[in-house]
Amino acid sequence: MEGFTYVDIFATKGIEYLLVISGLLFFTFFWRFLSRPAVAVYREAENVASTISDWFHLPVEGVYFHQGHSWAAPEDGEVVRVGMDDFAQKLVGKIDAIKFPNVGSQVAQGEKAWSLLVGSKSIDMLSPVDGKILEINERLLNSPESINKDPYGQSWLMKVQAPKISSNLKNLLSGSLAKKWMEGVRENLLARMNYNLGAVYQDGGVPVDGIARNLDRERWDEIVREFFLIS
């Protein structure tokens, strides 16, 4: 500014304001564009949808569910096969070991029966029936990870002698009641999921570290306990 001719120090102001206005419009669209979930997520979500719905498939007749995600299947007379449902394993993820009570000891319906050891954490599960443990599935003791194969068949956990079997079964869910209950569980699970989930299921399969950990990495065991009714 030499002081002999006019220099406008605000010469570009008008252009700046126009730029800002168009910038804000652009920002709005950009923001909305980015806020829409990615196409890939949608696609993964489809996979997840089909995968998740598998977990809620209930076996044919003859299996009775406890709401803590254990099941009981009466065999001959008072002998009952006991196990955990498919969903329970999916929720927990890779199980390092299962801690059973000794053969011959008593279990009671709705009370702690066995524990799943996952990493440093131990999660209890409830027994579906009252009775005395007759046998423990040796196959699972050696390879607990195989529990997911045929959860209602080969992967039973133990056999229990249940003298009060008929009254016990009345407290368990089967058929349409079980279906309804599972529906509720599924809804509960979906309500907790966030959209990060889609990314976890790259291959459309179940994550090795379990669905609970994807809900909340820090407090996943608490969520599991909620589902297993341990609290």
Partner: protein
């Protein structure tokens, strides 16, 4: 109605008109002390406004050549806008920070803000000598882009629109316009974000107007930080006004105009607002001290203007800040209410200082600006008219009571929709989330 007028709609249109007519009738008692005082003032003010427009400003305004901006700008606009700050602060807390607890006061604050802008900024028209040219900076009969006032004018206009958008769902609820409400409600967050931005700029812009009045304003008030000071003081000024209006509103309005839950939550909210005020005012006080030291103006404190400055700083800033703090600590709303009133007085004085008291402070008393009685009456008339309109709206529109059931449901649906979108899963699964209670067959795939 886009060509598809059915008999049913005609019918509802008729109903609508009947509804409007019934709503236009006065509600509540007419002969109240407030009405008896304010009505004559408003009438007289109206006459004087007419007089001002016919005869020119000089007929009404006192000593205007030394003081270009009297109480119409100095009080109505400067103070009115600062007092409207409650709108953007509450909107920030409720819509951006999602403080659901304060949802009950947000409409009151925004309505107050909107009316303040309409009336107080509208009062600019009175103070514009060539008022018929008011549209010039907007329509571009030359854009003075280099002017602070140009910005302030544009921000006023845009912010009024933003506030109208923020408050419009309430009016749609009143009129039962469901689809309009849905659309308007979807604009709220955007309007709030733009509104806060505009507020930041024009609250500080009002301060920036005085940056070029360098030697005309007493050095204790003139600093290059005026914009910042104006912005920060608008935060606690606005909150103090929300406290004041809330306290008055929850007392004077009929029970059926106020939601019982809102009324109960008010005392709790009041304490929180007091806390926000105390902290903001304390920070503002420190800033003032910093600026005083920065300007090396401490020697001026021991002058008559210095005493005035200290009165303002201690009595109307630090004292109410302390009262706010006391009220918050003791859980007692009484000191908070007193503090709110003191704070409002403090902000009024602060704003008047800039355009009147500390403006050309060196002139002898006989040459100083003292508002004429006509200016005062017009000012009061404007304030009272605003109170009347506020009352009229609160008596009809769901401001202090909960929205109608359909609006609440609409809101929930909206939220679920948004939540669902965020989940990305939900639309695929055809699920409604958590509390939606809708179940869909997952096995269809």
């Amino acid at each position: 109605m886009n060509g598809i007028t059915t008999t049913e709609e005609m019918h509802s249109l008729k109903d609508f008109l009947i509804f409007i007519r019934s709503e236009l009738k006065p509600k509540g008692k007419i002969l109240t002390p407030f009405n008896l005082i304010s009505a004559p003032i408003i009438l007289l003010g109206g006459v004087l406004i007419l007089y001002r427009f016919i005869m020119g400003m000089g007929a009404v305004v006192h000593n205007a050549s030394e003081y270009p901006w009297g109480i119409w700008i100095g009080f109505i606009v400067m103070v009115g806008v600062a007092f409207a700050g409650g709108a953007y602060v509450t909107a920030f807390i409720v819509y951006v920070l999602r403080g659901e607890k304060y949802h009950s006061i947000v409409r009151m604050a925004v309505l107050n803000g909107f009316l303040a802008y309409v009336f107080y900024a509208g009062a600019i028209l009175l103070d514009l000598g060539r008022w018929w040219n008011i549209v010039n900076p907007l329509i571009g009969n030359r854009f003075g882009v280099n002017s602070v006032l140009f910005l302030v004018a544009w921000h006023f206009l845009l912010y009024m629109i933003a506030q109208l958008v923020e408050i419009s769902p309430a009016f749609a609820e009143w009129l039962g316009l469901k689809r309009a409400r849905k659309f308007l409600a979807s604009l709220t967050l955007g309007a709030v974000i733009i509104g806060i931005t505009l507020s930041t700029l024009h609250q500080s812009g009002l301060g920036a107007l005085f940056l070029m009045a360098k030697w005309k304003i007493h050095p204790l008030w003139y600093t290059e930080f005026i914009p910042l000071l104006f912005f920060i003081s608008s935060i606690f000024a606005g909150l103090a006004v929300v406290i004041f209006i809330g306290t008055v509103s929850f007392r004077v309005f009929d029970k059926d105009r106020i939601d019982e839950e809102y009324r109960k939550s008010w005392d709790d909210i009041l304490i929180d607002l007091g806390k926000a005020c105390a902290i903001t005012m304390f920070v503002y006080f420190l800033l003032q001290v910093l600026i005083l030291v920065h300007g090396k103006n401490w020697a001026l404190l021991n002058t008559p203007m210095g005493y005035w400055y200290l009165t303002e700083l201690m009595g109307l800033l630090l004292l109410p800040a302390f009262l706010f703090g006391w009220g918050v600590k003791s859980g007692n709303p009484a000191p908070i209410r007193i503090a709110a009133v003191l704070t409002m007085i403090g902000v009024i004085i602060n704003r008047i200082d800039y355009s009147i008291i500390a403006f050309k402070w060196y002139l002898p008393f006989s040459e100083r600006y003292i508002p004429s009685w006509m200016e005062v009456v017009i000012t009061l008339a404007i304030v009272f008219t605003m109170v009347w309109v506020f009352r009229w709206i609160v008596n009809r529109v769901p401001i202090l009571r909960k929205p109608p059931q359909w609006a609440i449901e609409q809101e929930q649906e909206e939220e679920e929709e948004i939540e669902g979108r965020a989940m990305a899963l939900a639309p695929q699964l055809g699920l409604t989330m958590a509390d939606g209670g809708k179940t869909i067959d997952l096995h269809k795939k």
